[in-house]
Structures are given as C-alpha cells and as structure tokens.
C-alpha cells in the first residue's frame, strides 16, 4: 500500500493553481539570470488533494487514538484552537506593521506572557523561542550572560543529570560549556552526594528536568536548588514535563532561575508531525534583563523594562486580561515591543511562533486556573493508574508514585530474546501508537508511557490489556512480536539501508 511520490504523478503541462494574468506592463527580465529549468512537479488540483488525502490516511494522530509517547504530552488538540489561529485578524497581520495597528496581537502576547508568569512564578517571560530545544539554548545563553555580567569567567561547566534529554548537553556545548554528568540515585532522584561533590565555583549551573524523564518528582528538589545556588550557579528547568505541575507547584518557588515551556506539549497546541512548536522562556527577576527579545511591554514602560516581580502579576492580570470589550480595549491600549536592557539578543527573526501562541492562549482562557490544575491532577492520576495496571507484568525500575509519566524497564524478563522494540511494533497491531522507547538512557530497554489527562479510563484499560496480552505473546509466541507490525501500511523498514545508502530526495529515473 504505497502512494506514488508527487513527482511520479506529474504530467507535463498541468498546474494546480489559478493565477491572475499580469495586469501591468512587463519589464524585460535581466539577461543571464533566468533559470533554464525548474524541476518541480506538474499536477492538477485533484491530483494534489487525492495525493495528500491518501498520504494522510497512512498516518496515526492523536485524533485517531491513544498516543502515549512519554515526555511528549500528546494530549487532545482542541479544535477551537485551530479556529482561533486562523482568524484573519490574527493570521493576516505582518510583523513589521506599526504596533498601533496590531494591538490585538500585542495584547494576546502580553497576556500570555503574564499567564505563563503566573503559572510558573517567574518574573518575566519571552515568547520568542520556537521550540523546546530553542528555549534551552536561550536559557543556557541567559545563564552565561548572567555570569559574564558579573565578571565571573571561571564558570566553564554545566551539570546535567544522566537522565537528561540529549538537547540539554547539546545546548550547553553550543554555548561553550563542558557538560558534567551527575548520577541518579536508586530512587531516580539526582544523587545529592554526586551533585555536592561537583558544585564549585567553576559550575555555571545545573539543568534539571522536574519531574524528570523517569516521570519522578525529585524528592530533594529544594536541596538541589540550594546546593547549586550556594556555589554561585543557576538552576535551569527543562519544562517539558510541566503538564504534571500546573497549579501543583510553581517552578520559581522550587528554586528554578530560568525555565522553558513547551506550548505544544503542556498547552495543547498540536505537534504537527514534528512542529511547529513554541518554547517560551521564563526567568527570575535578576535574569529578566537578559531575555531574548523583543518582548511585549506597556508602551509607557521605560526602555529596557521587562516587568516587575511575580507578586504584581495580579495587578497586571486585572489591567490587561479579562473580558475584551470595546471600552476595555480602549482603556488598556498601548503595548509595544522592546528589547530587554542586556538581552542576549534575538534567537530568531520576529517575535515567536505567533500562530502557536494563539492556541496556547485560547487553551488557558478556556481552562482557567482550576481547569489547568485539574488537567495536571488528572494527568498524574492517569499515569499512576496505568502504572499500577502494568507494574506486575512489566519490570518497573522505580516503584514510586509517578507524576504524569512512568518508565518500564523493557519486556518481561521471561520473554527471552524479545526487546522493547518488538513490544512497540506489536502495539501497532493492536491499534495503538507505541510509547517512547529507549529513553531515558539510564534505563535499559526503557518504555516511557505518558497517557495525558485527555484519555478516558476505558482507553487506559484497553491499552493496559493490550500490553498484558503482548507480554503473554512475548513468552508463548515471540515471533509474532519480532515480525510485527503486520497490519500497518508498511512493515518494519530497513533503517540500516537508509543510513548506509542515504537517498534523501527523489531523483528522476535515468533515461536509458
């Protein structure tokens, strides 16, 4: 069941678009600069629609079924978000328009900045980074800028737990830091002794994911923050797992100095097959001046102002949020874009993934504080329920209350010769998207499961039953797993061949 490539259904002379005739006098094209050929496909609109519709039917999305990818938070993407982002008043605005002509956009961004501050306890937020990894790079650059501003050039190391996502050490390398790995202890927490031994004045900070990639809330998070701060380092928070914490705890109060959010995880914006996401960064007051920009500030604010401490959030919230009516808009007009005083610089062009920000904003306005807390509570409830249904069948390396996700240690030990990959592939035959596999690296044959709060008990039970069935199959008939998947559009693909002889684009067949 393969669909031809768009190039393969091309037929010379076809065009799928209708364009107006040229209504102005033509100017001669510059000689020697016009290309000879443009090897793009030629297809009709019908060809285009059928091609992409058929391709879409080869995909599995959250709208089709359960998608328990750990650390990705595949929660339901509300359709109202899609309507909101397409409102022409938003979608048809140019980033360089006079700020007075886009106050609607600036209001939405300002309020979103405020909401993220309120949820996290941070003093200031930049919405510019386009993705989680982008936010991480931003955060590490901010830490670097902070130390540099204090003339503290001895700090060359960043401490990173061994359970961390690869983007953490990759981001630190990009900023010129050396990564020093910190061990996890037997309960899945950061090993305090190992951390203590490494905390000195050559350390720029610690990058901590909390809850971590094992789905566990660090039992010593306050001590960790203290250790890092007392050696003069800063605590970076990887906010990928913030879905466990909304209304449960504020990272700034836990001791984090800087954190990125993943709007496409926690705040329901769709993953799009791999993007676009959005990775805003929140910081404590002393780091606010280093944020990337521009950010949205009241027009009357001083140059370089980036907002007051989070205690004033209520004030701002009242002033700039709430129901938007005609009078209200006139009252709280006048927002502008400004660079923080000692900004690390812009991390991309323009202001951020505005179309994604709209969706997160809409989600927050629909749920409110209680709704967001409910979402986090139910995410944690669902994960613990599923963990309890599976812990006697699959190895559970850390038998603790989990947060919004949990990690199994591979197939049951009785299933000889069966690997996590086989379990994952067999799940597809049961109509489920597999969980995250082989991450985090500190668990051998890891299976990371994050159900999210938008899944019903019935779905969780169906998934648990499939996993239990597969565990049985793994012992009785392991070949069923080795040869899986069977019912998908394609069977297991030869990734070795793809890497040894890379074919990264279509090349027309040779005319022999």
């Amino acid at each position: 069941m393969t669909e031809p490539l768009i190039f393969e259904i091309s037929s010379p002379g076809r065009c799928g678009a209708s364009l107006p005739a040229c209504d102005v006098p033509r100017t001669p094209l510059p000689a020697g600069m016009v290309r000879d050929d443009l090897p793009l496909p030629e297809v009709s609109e019908v060809d285009v629609i059928r091609h992409y519709v058929r391709l879409s039917q080869l995909n599995y999305g959250v709208d089709k079924g359960f998608y328990p990818l750990g650390s990705c938070t595949m929660k339901y993407n509300p359709k109202v978000n899609e309507v909101a982002a397409r409102l022409p008043g938003f979608a048809r605005t140019h980033p360089y328009q006079d700020p007075d002509s886009v106050q609607g956009n600036l209001t939405l961004m300002f309020e979103l900045q405020e909401y993220l501050k309120e949820l996290s306890g941070f003093a200031a937020v930049s919405l510019q980074p386009a993705a989680g990894a982008h936010g991480e790079l931003t955060g590490v650059l901010i830490i670097r800028a902070y130390h540099q501003s204090r003339g503290d050039s001895k700090r060359t190391k960043m401490l990173i737990p061994d359970s961390a996502h690869g983007t953490n050490p990759a981001s630190t390398s990009m900023c010129g830091y050396t990564t020093v790995e910190i061990k996890s202890d037997a309960r899945g927490n950061v090993d305090l002794e190992d951390l203590r031994a490494h905390c000195d004045d050559t350390v720029a900070g610690l990058m901590l994911t909390n809850p971590n990639t094992l789905g566990l809330f660090d039992e010593h998070v306050l001590e960790i923050a203290d250790l890092v701060h007392s050696c003069g380092g800063l605590l970076y928070g990887d906010g990928a797992n913030f879905n466990a914490l909304m209304g449960i705890a504020k990272p700034a109060q836990l001791g984090f100095d800087v954190m990125h959010f993943n709007l496409h995880k926690t705040f329901s914006t769709p993953h799009g097959g791999g993007g676009p996401g959005s990775g805003p960064v929140g910081v404590s007051q002393r780091l606010a001046q280093f944020l990337p920009g521009p950010i949205v500030v009241p027009a009357m604010a001083e140059d370089g102002w980036v907002g007051g401490p989070a205690e004033h959030a209520d004030e701002h919230a009242e002033e700039h949020t709430g129901k938007h009516t005609e009078e209200h808009t006139e009252e709280c007009h006048a927002l502008r874009l400004a660079m923080p005083k000692h900004s690390i610089g812009r991390v991309k062009s323009f202001y951020g993934n505005f179309g994604v920000l709209i969706k997160a904003y809409t989600y927050i306005r629909m749920l409110g504080a209680e709704g967001l807390r409910q979402a986090s509570q139910d995410a944690v409830l669902n994960a613990n329920y599923l963990m309890h249904r599976l812990k006697d069948v699959y190895p559970l390396p850390y038998d603790r209350t989990c947060m919004h996700e949990f990690v199994l240690g591979g197939p049951p030990p009785e299933a000889e010769g069966v690997h996590t990959m086989d379990v994952a592939k067999r799940l597809m035959d049961y109509g489920f998207h597999p969980p995250t596999v082989y991450f985090p690296l500190i668990v051998h044959e890891a299976i990371m499961i994050e159900p999210t709060e938008t899944e019903s008990k019935a779905t969780l039970d169906a998934f648990a039953e499939a996993m239990i069935k597969i565990a049985e199959e793994a012992v009785i008939d392991p070949d069923l797993l080795h040869s899986a998947p069977h019912v998908t559009p394609v069977t297991r693909l030869d990734e070795t061949r793809a890497a040894r002889r890379p074919r990264l684009r279509w090349v027309p067949p040779r005319q022999d």
Partner: protein, 469 residues
C-alpha cells in the same frame, strides 16, 4: 472545559486501584509548603465566549485582507491556494507527532521527503533537511555546520551587510558562546546607500574563515549576477571556506539557483511558500547543501528505504548526527522541525508546480518594477534601487518614513514600506517597498496616488501634521 473525560466514579475507581484516597495524595513528593499554590488567571470561558473575545481582539488589528500591503522585509504577502489549508487541517497530519515510528507515519515521512526533494530542485542542491525554525536560525545552523566541517579549526564568519538584519543578529546570538568572530556587515561598508562592496567582502577571506554568507536577492531586493557570484564562490573556495547563500524561495522560481553559482549551502525563509504571514510565525527555515556535507546537516532528514516485503517506505535517517545520540558532541541542539509548515510549503509547490511558481515570480517581478517606475516619476521621490531587483525596492521619501506610513495607514488604508533608517542609519528617510502577485495594478496605482498627495499633505515637524482629504 478541560477536555478531561473522567466522571467522579471513574476517578474513584482509579484511585482505588492505585491505593490512595484522594488525588492530592499523589503529590506527596512536592514540598508541602509549596503544594497547590494560588494561581490567578481569568475565569474560564466557554468556546463561544472565547471566540467572541478573540474575534474582537483580532478585528482590532489592521489586517492584510482589509489594508493594501506593500510591506515585505522578510515576511511576505503571497497567495496561499485553498488546497494548502485543507491539507494541513487534516488531523492525521497536524495531530501526529514526529515520525519516530515510521510504520504509522508514512504520511508525514513521505510529505517531508517530497518537501526535501522540492527544496533541492529549487536551490540546485543535493540534500535538504526537514526544515529549521525560520530563515534566520537556518542561517545560524549553516554557520554551525561550516565550523563543524572545518573540524573546529576555523573561527571567522563573514556576513554580507545586505543580509536581513535580524538574520545577522540571530547568527551572533547563536554563536556568542563559541569563540567565533563575525565580520563584514558593518552598514558603513555599503557603497552609495545599498550597494554591496563584494571586493571588501572578499578582502576579509583568510585561512581562518569558515564561511562567507550573502543574501540574493538581498534585504533590499537587489540581485547580483550568477557570474559575479560564481567569482565570489571561487574566491571563498580558494580560501578553503564554505559559500552560503540565503535566497527568497519565490525568486528561485525565476532566477538561476545558487547551486549553479557555487553555493555549498543554501538557506532561506520558507514562509512565502504556502504559509500564513501570521505576525511573524510559525515560519520555516529551509536548509540545503551539497551531497558531500549531508552527514553534517543538523535537524531531521527523511530517507528512502524498503520494508520487509520490499515495498518502498520512508524513515528518519542519519539519526546518529542528532542531539539525542551525540548529546554534547552534537553540532546543533536542534530536535524538531517545522513539519506542518514544511507540509504547507510542499503542498504549495506541488500545487503551483513548475509553471505556477514561475508565474508567481514573474508577477512579483513585473508588478514591483511597475510600482518602482511609477513612484520614481513622482516629484520628491527617488528610486535608490538599481537593476536588477526582485519583488522589493528602495525609495527615498520626501518625508520621514514613519510619518508617511502613518498617513498612508490612517488616510488611505495602506500598509507602507519598511523604514530602513531603523536598522541602517545612513538610510534614514528611505523605505523598502514590496510588491507581490497580491497587489493588483489598481492597488499599485492607488499607492502611487497616495504617495503623490502625501508629499503635499503632510506638514513639517514630527507630531504635527495637517492632512487633506
């Protein structure tokens, strides 16, 4: 509305299975004093209510459906055919995740493979990735790649001063911790306003240069000939460095692709290809290079292979380059791509195709030239641009650009050009105007009329103006 389906009975059943009384008991690891803090957010709204508010908020903006737009400068008002939104609205595409499990992701994977192929076709390159966040970060990634190709032995980056200012800023932000020197783009290096001094750029080449980057068409819409750029490429290669070109993808529908004049890496902003202008994002940065560098490309790559039955299929490949494998040794930390934006670009390119894209480019070319000639003929206005240019051109205004733009917006419903004085001090008083296939002749004539009257209607000093009817 929380989108959570549980009833209280179900919650109770689940809690019982876990063995706790209340859901709050699951949070015992959170320090007690900090647990369940007060969070002040606006009261939740129903779908109806939030849409009403958003409608009001969005309608308070001046948008391009209601105002004539002559503003470009890196974000462009191009026509998006209706099929594009239909395709990217299919939830099989937009609610899917990164295609790590290829057997259930062939839709995403094949569309990215097609996108990669089309970008190669446009740019004349042999390998393209699944996209970066935008044109600016794509350029920064090109710098990272050039440094990696030099095995970290070269530390100098030469940027043309006619590259988009925000791209150059982004390159500097990205590289601030890497011990590199970024040179060449002092605005003072521009001869006679907007002309690029290529000899001055070449003079900066040495054995420490990792790459030299130009934008063509440049930020001002100016174009260099392939012959001249090939000479520049040769000089760059002679110095052992990489030649990087940033190009507007619509322009590539008409003009010689950078692959034909010596580029090693081609990057640019993919927004003009089927993506909404959306106040600056989400956009996508395209990235393409020669085959010999493919193993150093950052970001996701989709490759062709076969399944156990020998059927063609697609997978993410050359994965060992990426951050989740290389970790601190990765060239870049990038994890994601702008998948849905790349899908939109692919659908756009498929829909327009060989002839359609060329037509769009020609319309932009002819309309911009028409507008430029009409404005040049107005008293008080001077066309600064020289031939050849594409889609955008620079005009010296008789009044401060911000004043003139306010006048255009308020009195004529026109969004005017980019105020170049904001980023190139010596170009104060000059505006960068953009004309695309979206601007009819009537609209262009309307702009010209507005500009003609503006010269006489706006009085003197900032903050005071008298406007006629």
């Amino acid at each position: 509305m929380t989108y959570v389906p549980h009833s209280q009975a179900e919650r109770q059943a689940m809690l019982a299975a876990i063995g706790v009384d209340r859901v709050e008991d699951l949070f015992a690891d959170v320090p007690e004093a900090l647990r369940f803090p007060k969070v002040s957010l606006p009261e939740p709204l129903s779908e109806l209510e939030i849409l009403q508010e958003l409608q009001w908020m969005s309608e308070s903006n001046a948008d391009l459906d209601h105002y004539a737009c002559f503003l470009g400068a890196g974000a462009y008002n191009h026509y998006v055919p209706s099929v594009v939104d239909h395709v990217i609205s299919r939830s099989e595409f937009y609610t899917a995740y990164t295609p790590y499990q290829p057997e259930v992701s062939q839709g995403t994977l094949q569309t990215i493979f097609e996108y990669q192929s089309m970008i190669c076709a446009l740019t004349g390159m042999e390998a393209a990735n699944a996209s970066h966040y935008d044109g600016a970060t794509s350029m920064a990634e090109a710098v990272l790649m050039a440094v990696a190709v030099s095995r970290g032995r070269r530390h100098k980056v030469i940027l043309s001063p006619t590259i988009h200012p925000e791209y150059r800023e982004t390159v500097r932000t990205y590289t601030q911790g890497m011990g590199l020197t970024v040179v060449g783009d002092d605005p003072g290096k521009l001869r006679e306003g907007i002309d690029l001094d290529l000899e001055a750029l070449k003079a900066l080449l040495d054995s420490d240069t990792a790459c030299l980057i130009v934008q063509n068409p440049d930020f001002f819409g100016q174009m260099e000939s392939p012959a001249v750029l090939q000479e520049l490429a040769d000089a760059v290669h002679e110095a052992g460095a990489m030649f990087v070109v940033s190009a507007d993808p619509i322009s590539l529908g008409l003009f010689t692709p950078p692959g034909d004049y010596g580029a090693d890496i081609v990057v640019g902003e993919g927004q003009p290809l089927g993506n909404a202008i959306s106040f600056g994002g989400p956009y996508l940065g395209y990235f393409a290079c020669k085959d010999q560098f493919k193993r150093k490309i950052a970001g996701r790559l989709v490759g062709e292979t076969v399944d156990t039955h020998g059927r063609r299929g697609f997978v993410l490949t050359l994965v060992a380059r990426e951050q989740h494998i290389r970790r601190e040794k990765a060239t870049s930390n990038i994890c994601s791509n702008q998948a849905l934006c790349a899908l939109a670009a692919g659908v756009y390119l498929a829909t327009l195709g060989k002839r359609g894209l060329r037509t769009v480019a020609e319309l932009c070319y002819h309309k911009a030239h028409y507008a430029a000639s009409q404005i040049a003929a107005l008293e008080g206005y001077e066309l600064v641009s020289k031939e050849p240019f594409f889609k955008e051109f620079v005009v010296r205004f008789p009044r401060p650009v911000s004043e003139l733009n306010s006048y255009l917006l308020d009195e004529w419903g026109i969004i005017g050009g980019y105020d170049l004085g904001r980023v190139y001090p010596h170009l104060a008083g000059c505006a960068l105007l953009c004309v695309t296939e979206m601007n009819s002749k009537g609209e262009i004539d309307y702009l010209v009329e507005a500009l003609a009257t503006a010269n006489f209607q706006i009085e003197g000093s900032a903050g005071s103006r008298e406007v006629g009817s």
